[in-house]
């Protein structure tokens, strides 16, 4: 199993998850974070840490977000590792829970 960063991270990128991750398995893109599925240790700590509830266990991932499984796996190979918390993206609060953000994902 792995945990998966879902759609609501896009354009928010709060990075609280990064600070609690024991294994440092988050990777950072221009406007979203992802989890490396091989490196995730299934501790769940990032789920409550995320202020916008963007992270799911793969078994609990909403059906309409299924594509984020492969987005996480794929982008974790390409984007750089992030191990320290930083400020969220500007406008993060306004983008929280806005539907259909996935079209705005920058790879």
């Amino acid at each position: 199993m792995t945990f998966v960063v879902g759609e609501n991270c896009i354009l928010c990128k709060h990075t609280d998850c990064v600070a609690v991750c024991p294994t440092n398995c988050f990777y950072e893109g221009p406007n979203m974070l992802v989890i490396h599925p091989d490196e995730c240790i299934d501790c769940k700590l990032c789920v409550p840490a995320c202020p916008v509830d963007a992270i799911y266990a793969d078994d609990d991932l909403p059906k309409d977000q299924h594509e984020f499984l492969s987005i996480n796996a794929e982008m974790a190979q390409i984007w750089p590792n992030i191990s320290k918390q930083k400020a969220p993206l500007e406008g993060a609060e306004q983008w929280n829970s806005i539907p259909k953000k996935r079209d705005l994902l920058k790879r």
């Binding site: 600070a19 024991p22 091989d38 299934d42 501790c43 409550p48 840490a49 078994d59």
Partner: protein, 496 residues
């Protein structure tokens, strides 16, 4: 669920630690973990793992979901590819890692019979003896079904000293460093003993969890350097990773460890490893037999051997094994004999074997105290002196207690001693040092699994293990009202 705190908040590393951390790199690990029974039920596991649970086993486990007997709610299910490979042909290892309805057949026991929470002055720290235990991770690579930290692993809500309910939190570097420094300052200012608790300097910290080896190298180095800078002389790290995922001990780990040793040459690292059964580290042939090496000893699993040799080459790292004796896993003198011999041959000291705790949901794993002593004693027959350093220990509220001997003959003229007696010896008093070495004799009760089972047959109690009622002690966790007394206050009251 409450959000975890970042491990390094409110902490500024020293310049020495900062220099070290700049040079540490993280490794990449693919443990191929399978978490949860749903994956097995949906067939959402690699083909060769599908038969790990039979469909009948899965059916009986699923039937318990959502009930009081839900085994996954008691303890999450998790296995690595490496451990699966070892376990698929080992009944003992399957019992260790596979969920079973037996776990929740009998829900008797106390939530916290050793009363660990009473020794917690700071979130994530248990301060006993001259040793502090810190919870630095809330998970492991795989999960032992008999784990007694299931409330931490499962993130169950426990009652806090202030009366609220929240999951047990993890230790934070800044808070732990501040506590150590303050405790040691008071001890130093008072001639070597804490004026209230009588405790000595905190010299040693045990990093536990969960398994600290799930942390990245940088997180481990952050803890090690912070603890060393706070004046800790020996850092213990409790891990089962040699059994679950030995490749975690890779070049990047030793690179970090060696750099740490260069920066902090006076700080010992003590690995407290956890093998329960030789199947966890020895190769077996097609008939399931261990394979003799031409020059003596038995053939190890290559990845495990590589790791243990690399650790063993570093004189400043010691390796001690400790394990509970668990029903269906290692209540087997032959397995324990082979394990003690092979570990010692490979630089691993046999430290403790433990009696299981009388915790809710643990009846299926408990081996009676006197039977555990017999098994260990039997296993040590035919071993040399250096191979038999391990003692059988049981954790009383007062401290770590050795089950030293069990006799078969009656003790003439002593009521309660008709069937022989058990010798218990206090190894370490949790609060203060002076009680070490004191003994207690109780009449035999072959079914006893906890101190309270001897309440009616105490023959001699120099150690004070049965002062008051230990029956009350065993059930104390359910009856106490922590809202009224803080853990610190309680430790002080105990000491007075």
């Amino acid at each position: 669920m409450a959000a975890a705190q970042p491990i390094a908040s409110n902490y500024t590393p020293t310049s020495r630690a900062t220099e070290l951390l700049k040079t540490v790199a993280n490794g990449k690990y693919n443990r191929q973990i399978i978490t949860g029974l749903t994956k097995f039920m949906d067939g959402n596991v690699p083909d060769d793992m599908r038969a790990f649970y039979t469909s009948e086993e899965l059916r009986s486990l699923v039937a318990l979901r959502g009930t009081q007997r839900d085994v996954e709610a008691r303890m999450p299910v998790k296995v690595t590819r490496h451990y699966f490979e070892l376990a698929k042909t080992s009944h003992a290892l399957q019992t260790l890692v596979k969920a079973s309805p037996k776990e929740t057949n009998d829900l008797g026991g106390a939530p916290d019979p050793g009363k660990q929470m009473d020794y917690s002055p700071v979130e994530g720290l248990i301060h006993k003896y001259e040793l502090g235990l810190i919870y630095v991770a809330s998970t492991c690579s795989a999960h032992c079904r008999f784990c007694y930290r299931e409330e931490l692993i499962a993130q169950k809500e426990v009652e806090r000293p202030d009366g609220t309910f929240a999951p047990k939190g993890l230790a934070q570097v800044g808070e732990i460093v501040a506590y150590i420094q303050e405790h040691n300052r008071i001890v130093a200012a008072n001639g070597g003993r804490h004026p209230k608790t009588g405790r000595e300097k905190l010299r040693e910290i045990l990093m536990s969890g969960g398994d600290p080896m799930v942390l990245s190298n940088t997180n481990i180095a952050t803890w090690w350097s912070a603890l060393a800078d706070a004046g800790i002389e020996s850092i213990r790290l409790g891990t089962k990773e040699l059994a679950f995922f030995p490749d975690r001990f890779d070049e990047s780990f030793f690179d970090m460890a060696d750099k740490f040793h260069t920066a902090y040459p006076d700080t010992n690292i003590r690995l407290m490893i956890h093998f329960n059964h030789p199947d966890e580290f020895l190769e077996r042939d097609a008939s399931g037999n261990y394979i003799p090496e031409p020059r003596g000893g038995l053939k190890w699993v290559p990845a495990t051997k590589r790791a243990i040799e690399a650790i063993g080459r570093r004189a400043w790292i010691s390796i001690d094994n400790q394990a509970p004796i668990i029903n269906g896993i290692n209540n087997d003198p032959d397995a324990l004999r082979i394990m003690q011999r092979e570990l010692r041959r490979n630089k691993v000291e046999n430290h403790y074997f433990f009696c299981g705790r009388d915790i809710i949901g643990h009846k299926a794993f408990n081996v009676p105290i006197e039977e555990a002593w017999r098994i260990l004693n039997e296993s040590q027959k035919g071993l040399s002196g250096v191979e038999t350093h391990a003692r059988l220990s049981i954790t009383h509220y007062k401290g770590k207690t050795e089950v030293s001997a069990v006799t078969n003959d009656p003790l003439p003229g002593v009521p309660g001693g008709e069937n022989g007696f058990v010798v218990l010896k206090l190894l370490r008093s949790a609060a203060s040092a002076p009680d070490r070495g004191k003994v207690c004799l109780v009449g035999r009760n072959p079914r006893a699994i906890w101190f309270s089972d001897y309440d009616d047959r105490v023959l001699y109690d120099e150690a004070g293990l049965f002062k008051g009622s230990s029956k009350a002690t065993a059930q104390y966790g359910q009856e106490r009202s922590p809202a009224l007394v803080s853990p610190m206050e309680r430790v002080k009251q105990e000491a007075i």
